[in-house]
């Protein structure tokens, strides 16, 4: 099994940490992982993306032009990465902030109202966990127990009281994802 994922959105949306949690989840179940961020003069509000690869085998290139899954969090990223999903691949997005929805017919498209749901849960910062839950519902590549282990390793100990809220957001994301 090899899953090649791009997660793309605004800086501050939790793009990089979502990738990190996925990466730690893969390690927790004995897989190889790579996590390659776009780096540069970036800041909150600017665009940010990360390529995450989880595989049973040695990972070749950490940088890719085509992906099995794209998790898209803003319009700029939709413009840039819709065409990079492999035929038959998966595109997951939050319609909030997307003015031009994806048009491709040869890929599986899913959406989740993650921004609104995060507000309902009372903490907009769990937005990325809603997206992660939605993704794991579509592609259960890592077991939930390993996701929780990954969360524990990614979140500093002083914030471990937020683990139940994060888990709740993942569950909510799993329930709320819709096929387009």
């Amino acid at each position: 099994m090899t899953e090649e994922i791009i997660i793309a959105g605004f800086g501050g949306q939790g793009v990089l940490s979502m990738g990190k949690i996925l990466g730690y989840s893969g390690i927790s179940q004995g897989q190889e992982v790579s996590w390659m961020p776009s780096y540069g003069p970036e800041m909150r509000g600017g665009t940010s993306n990360v390529t995450v690869i989880i595989s049973d085998e040695r990972i070749s290139s950490p940088i890719l032009a085509n992906f099995d899954t794209a998790i898209i969090l803003n319009q700029q990223s939709m413009d840039k990465f819709e065409s990079s999903v492999k035929p038959g691949g998966t595109l997951l997005y939050d319609p909030n902030g997307i003015s031009i929805p994806p048009k491709r017919k040869d890929i599986n498209i899913y959406k989740i109202e993650a921004t609104n749901l995060a507000t309902e849960l009372g903490n907009t910062k769990v937005f990325n966990m809603l997206m992660l839950g939605a993704y794991l519902k579509i592609k259960p590549i890592v077991k939930m127990e390993n996701v929780i282990a990954g969360l524990k390793k990614s979140i500093p100990e002083r914030n471990h009281h937020l683990l139940p809220l994060n888990q709740k957001a993942i569950d909510k994301g799993m329930e709320s994802v819709q096929k387009v």
């Binding site: 730690y24 893969g26 390690i27 996590w35 780096y39 540069g40």
Partner: protein, 361 residues
């Protein structure tokens, strides 16, 4: 004992490896894309863990001269920077090579020339392998292609540096430095005691006992005949390194008709290209260089009669390819492919380059 696995950036892995391999000191100055080395060291407070000294110097020039001083005392010492900062360090590196001192230097290469860009490149190959500073000298140059190798090459680098009393460079790039991968961490090693250092490094300036002459650390000798002798001694050492320390990895070369010669992040991109080409039935293998100096000339000469051509893939306008051409001696076609200025080639572009330049050429 259960293995300790972490998800870490390449830069952080180097810093953690320095602490765990029992290094005595790190001197550096921040620059993208390698600032996480100093950041991780500051965060981990190694002085409390092992007594290791970590200092942000006032400049790169200052940092390399602190390395020179500590190395002269037989200490396990390192510095890190990225391309423009490494250029600033060249005078000090030349002095350290001339004085025959061990140290470790990490270059997380970014695109140049000049301040260039902060994005990844491999355009410092000439600087790393052909001298860099003035005078006839060589560094041992290691090229990690994964976060694990970033970690492992720190201890390997220190071992080689002390074995040959020679500066060792790890030439990485923005991709390997910035990406996170699964990393297996080794146990904490004790730093050597002052007595152990005095015993292991009889040349070091650690205080003169009654029973020996004083040790002098210098690269200066104004007596030309002696300076010539010193140069011959250095060259003999580099020859020994070329004979004994070549490291490389062969991937799918047994039945290969075409060979991609590459290193570091480019080798990772090339592995993906190889998978695409193999799926099309093209027999491609990869020679991944682990040491850039010494260059694996011998294995290339063994492969040359068996293959139809070589493609050097590197993120430069064509530097490593020159050593490849020297090794192949024009017996088979040798071409180069690379993107530069911080642009990273896609695996598909490497596929296209091999098909057009070597197979179709």
């Amino acid at each position: 004992m259960e293995k300790e696995l972490r998800l870490m950036k390449g830069n952080e892995a180097v810093a953690e490896a320095a602490i765990r391999s029992g290094a005595d000191a790190y001197f550096g100055y921040p620059i993208t894309p390698q600032s996480e080395v100093l950041e991780h060291l500051m965060l981990e407070k190694p002085h409390e863990r092992t007594g290791m000294v970590v200092l942000q110097a006032e400049s790169e020039v200052s940092a390399i001269n602190m390395v020179y001083g500590a190395a002269g005392c037989g200490r396990m010492v390192m510095t890190s920077s990225s391309s423009p900062g490494i250029s600033l360090k060249q005078e000090g590196i030349s002095y350290i090579a001339g004085a025959e001192l061990p140290c470790l230097i990490l270059n997380v290469v970014r695109g140049g020339p000049g301040l260039g860009t902060i994005q990844p490149a491999q355009s410092d190959y000439f600087q790393s392998t052909k001298g860099g500073g003035h005078g006839d000298y060589r560094l041992i140059v290691l090229a990690p292609a994964s976060v694990q190798e970033m970690y492992d090459f720190v201890e390997l680098g220190f071992n080689l540096a002390f074995k040959y009393r020679n500066p060792v460079m790890i030439q990485s790039d923005g991709i390997i430095g910035q990406m996170m991968e699964k990393l297996e961490i080794g146990p904490q090693k004790q730093r050597r005691s002052a007595e152990e250092i005095a015993k292991q490094c009889p040349w070091a300036t650690v205080g003169k006992p009654e029973n020996r002459e004083r040790n002098i650390i210098t690269s200066l000798d104004l007596v030309s005949a002696r300076q010539e002798q010193h140069n011959h001694k250095l060259q003999a050492k580099y020859k020994e390194i070329q004979e004994k320390e070549v490291r490389y990895e062969l991937i799918n070369c047994d039945d290969a008709e075409y060979i991609i010669v590459s290193y570091g992040s480019s080798a990772r991109l090339s592995m993906k290209a190889m998978d695409i080409l193999r799926a099309k039935g093209v027999k491609v293998g990869i020679l991944r260089l682990i040491t850039l100096f010494p260059y694996p000339t011998k294995i290339i000469q063994e492969l040359t009669p068996k293959v139809k051509g070589f493609l050097a893939v590197e993120m430069s306008c064509g530097q490593m390819v020159e050593d490849l051409r020297l090794a192949v001696e024009f017996k088979k076609p040798v071409e180069h492919f690379g993107r530069v200025g911080g642009m990273v080639p896609s695996p598909e572009e490497i596929v296209e380059a091999l098909e057009q330049k070597i197979i179709g050429g």
